[in-house]
């Protein structure tokens, strides 16, 4: 069964959760995330993704940041929390996350690399 999560449409931010033809799930981030408390919308979204991916045994998740021009440090923390939840799961339950980032957007090169380092193999990155 595909996962069913409503897209998030805010003034400067769109996040879509799409079912891919190969059974995977794609999270597509567009715009900027520079809100005072981005955890108010990011944490519930990541919670839903996490629980539905586990329930539906989704084999892989891709998070595409290539069109997210800015993410503030509070947003980075929300992303980090989601990714690090992998490490609380047994190895048989983990779902691989691929982070797709842009070589042209400075914040993605450093901050996403740091998150990947912390994730101890739970995340792989792909530049575009």
């Amino acid at each position: 069964m595909p996962i069913d999560i409503e897209p998030l449409n805010l003034e400067k931010t769109t996040i879509q959760v799409l079912n891919e033809s190969d059974g995977g799930v794609l999270l597509k981030f567009v715009g900027t995330i520079d809100h005072l408390n981005p955890s108010e919308f990011l944490d519930p979204l990541f919670d839903k993704v996490h629980s539905q991916v586990l329930e539906q045994r989704v084999p892989k998740v891709e998070a595409d940041f290539t069109e997210l021009n800015f993410l503030n440090s509070s947003g980075i923390k929300s992303l980090l929390k989601w990714i690090m939840r992998q490490l609380d799961l047994g190895e048989d339950k983990r779902y691989p996350i691929k982070i797709v980032y842009s070589r042209k957007i400075t914040w993605q090169q450093t901050s996403l690399k740091a998150i990947t380092h912390l994730s101890k193999g739970a995340v792989i990155t792909e530049p575009r």
């Binding site: 900027t32 980075i76 980090l80």
Partner: protein, 165 residues
């Protein structure tokens, strides 16, 4: 740090109530530096630092009526971004301690350490470490009469030295 009429740079002062002016300032700084240096990586780094410093200044201002100032000052071999606010006195010691920790060691290692520590905290507290690691900036803190000034210093590469002055 105030600008004089012969300095090259920009300055904006606003009330902490106006959160959206933080992103307006970031976008302006990126555009100003992009036009000045023709280097999108440098302009993104400067703009990100202005944003993170302003977020901290707005969050920890003593009242919603005390203005926050952000000044960018372009010198021959460096760019200075200075953010000033009237800080909550109870936050000053916390900020000094945070500075002492964040400004130690390898910037990327510290950023990763702060990320790890943030998972145990209600707050992100990543901004200063991010400025050092991602912004590749040196940080300075000073306080006087309740006004906190945090400065990020960007050393320009040889090919950009004197490019604007």
């Amino acid at each position: 740090m105030a600008l004089t009429t012969t300095d090259i740079g920009a300055s904006i002062t606003f009330s902490p109530q106006w959160w959206h002016l933080i992103s307006s300032t970031r976008i302006f700084m990126a555009s100003f530096c992009g036009q000045s240096f023709g280097d999108s990586d440098l302009s993104d780094r400067i703009a990100m630092c202005a944003h993170e410093l302003l977020e901290n200044a707005v969050k920890y201002s003593v009242t919603q009526d005390s203005p926050v100032n952000c000044t960018m000052h372009i010198q021959h071999d460096r760019v200075l971004v200075t953010v000033e606010n009237h800080a909550d006195p109870s936050h000053l010691d916390v900020l000094r301690e945070e500075f002492d920790v964040v400004c130690q060691g390898d910037p990327m290692e510290m950023y990763i350490n702060k990320m790890s520590a943030s998972l145990e905290s209600d707050k992100s507290q990543l901004g200063l470490a991010r400025i050092r690691a991602e912004g590749e900036a040196e940080l300075k803190l000073s306080t006087e009469n309740g006004i906190v000034s945090v400065q990020a210093i960007f050393h320009l590469p040889d090919d950009l030295k004197g490019a604007v002055n």
